[in-house]
């Protein structure tokens, strides 16, 4: 496999984009990524587009071809990939493989979602497409509910407290205040979180990520293109993808996602590093408790200590291992198909030393994107090129 570089990045702000068509959001982000790279767009040999529910929510499919057409790319293979909330991460891995394998010298990964225009019932029904609706769905379970189940066990088994989980919310909301792309950065304290309405016990409103519109894109090239680049590139050290159980009955333990554990192990092995070499992490905090579980599954925090690390400030920027300096899904937003690529966009800025919430001396970053009931996971490890 060849060395792959991220040569260009683009993103819309995450939030509400009522007046912009879904393909236009994707084209804005992708066009910015192409222009920044300095690569001629006719050199792009493949496009992978991550999207979850454009059909039910916007009535628009064939997005990959539509976006390539709008961008003025060649008549190249254009493929939409879907893995619920991990759709963006999967699109990135496919673009990475297209370049790493030698199939093409440049490939585009684009992620997009448009959700805020739909009413809550329609959005909930669309999001519930990500669970096995013939088994878990018939009980009336929801996605927040899945994390309520996980929280209950984490609290009983490890003594994880409401204050510890609230520390995750406060940190990510505060990080989002510094990020111009974030949908809802805020200063929120433990009392305010505790006063927000219960969604599914013990999850409250502040424990849940918002509904978002947005797009993010990355242009990947083979390392031998480096001299042609107009931007400062970042190296891809590893890109791993795994499958976990599609239903709750298949999870032997609801307090861990085996897809994350396996993807992290595969990524560390591919990169030839261990968890302690990572300088910062952008992970899948769709719900506050998810960040605690993910830090443990990724091996950056000892099992059962995710809550303690959060409350002690060890996952803040300036702490032992900064987690979600972008604000994460909780604060930056979660335009489902774009989320995994947005994490990589943020990480590239960190590794260039240009992030608005910069981690000092960041040389290696890790991104983690998880879909459905843990059915799909991607973990990427990125490196500053002089590091």
């Amino acid at each position: 496999m060849r060395q792959v570089l991220i040569a260009g990045i683009g993103s819309t702000p995450f939030g509400r984009h009522s007046e912009i068509a879904i393909q236009s959001l994707a084209i804005r982000a992708a066009d910015a990524a192409i222009r920044e790279s300095g690569i001629d767009r006719k050199q792009v040999g493949a496009l992978y587009l991550g999207n979850f529910v454009s059909g039910p929510l916007t009535g628009q499919e064939v997005l990959a071809g539509l976006v390539a057409d709008g961008l003025g790319l060649g008549q190249i293979p254009c493929t939409k990939v879907e893995g619920a909330c991990a759709s963006g991460g999967i699109a990135f891995r496919h673009a990475y493989l297209a370049v790493a394998s030698g199939m093409c010298d440049a490939a585009l990964a684009v992620g997009v979602e448009k959700m805020t225009h739909a009413d809550t019932a329609t959005t909930t029904a669309a999001l519930n497409c990500a669970m096995d609706n013939r088994s878990d769905g018939i009980s009336g379970l929801t996605f927040p509910g899945l994390f309520g189940l996980a929280w209950q066990i984490h609290a009983e088994r490890y003594g994880t407290s409401r204050d510890q989980v609230s520390a995750v919310v406060s940190k990510n909301k505060a990080n989002g205040l510094l990020n111009p792309l974030a949908q809802m950065g805020a200063n929120v304290g433990a009392d305010q979180i505790l006063q927000s309405p219960l969604i599914c016990d013990p999850l409250r409103l502040y424990d849940c990520c918002p509904t978002s519109d947005g797009a993010a894109a990355l242009l990947l090239v083979a390392a031998d293109k480096r001299a042609e680049l107009a931007s400062s590139p970042v190296a891809v050290m590893a890109s791993a993808q795994t499958r976990g159980s599609a239903r709750i009955a298949g999870h032997p333990d609801l307090c861990t996602f085996d897809a994350t554990v396996m993807a992290a192990q595969a990524a560390y092995a591919q990169a030839g590093i261990s968890a302690k070499d990572v300088d910062f992490v952008e992970l899948h905090d769709c719900f506050s408790i998810a960040e605690i579980i993910d830090t443990e599954d990724l091996g950056i925090v000892p099992r059962g200590h995710g809550g303690g690390y959060a409350l002690e400030g060890r996952t803040r920027v300036g702490g032992d291992i900064p987690v979600n300096p972008s604000g994460g899904l909780l604060s930056k937003g979660h335009p489902v198909g774009a989320t995994g690529l947005g994490q990589i966009y943020e990480s590239v800025l960190q590794l260039r030393g240009q992030h608005p919430n910069q981690v000092r001396d960041a040389a290696i970053g890790l991104t983690h994107n998880l879909g459905g009931t843990g059915v799909a996971c991607t973990v990427n490890i990125l490196k500053r090129i002089d590091a």
Binding site: T124, A125, S135, S139, L149, I153, D201
Partner: protein, 107 residues
């Protein structure tokens, strides 16, 4: 009450279903069978914002139960979550369109 499950005729594995091939041996010889509805509570949550088809029922408690027969089922818990704890002995008490409701096991 008993719970409807799938039983693999080749290797005996039980599965809550629906499933096309046995998860253990991939045989397609899955037959409808029954397992005792007694088990232990794995976790629970109270759903206050429900999907449209369950809206009229909210708030309701979703429970994950590990049956004594070995398999895990996602269902409902009858009543509120106030006195629930991990490993609480429970048993199935009713069924509605394939979804089972559990209650604390009468001792």
């Amino acid at each position: 009450m008993h719970i409807k499950v799938l039983r693999c005729e080749s290797c005996g594995t039980l599965d809550p279903g629906p499933r096309d091939l046995c998860a253990a041996c991939q045989s397609d010889k899955l037959v409808l069978s029954e397992a005792p509805g007694a088990g232990a509570l794995v976790s629970w949550t109270t759903i206050r914002r429900a999907p449209t088809r369950f809206k009229g029922q909210a708030p309701y408690v979703v429970a994950v139960v590990k049956l004594d027969a070995g398999l895990i089922i996602t269902g409902r818990f009858s009543g509120t979550e106030e006195n629930l704890r991990l490993d609480l002995p429970v048993e199935a008490v009713s069924e509605d369109e394939g979804a089972y409701t559990f209650a604390e096991k009468a001792s």
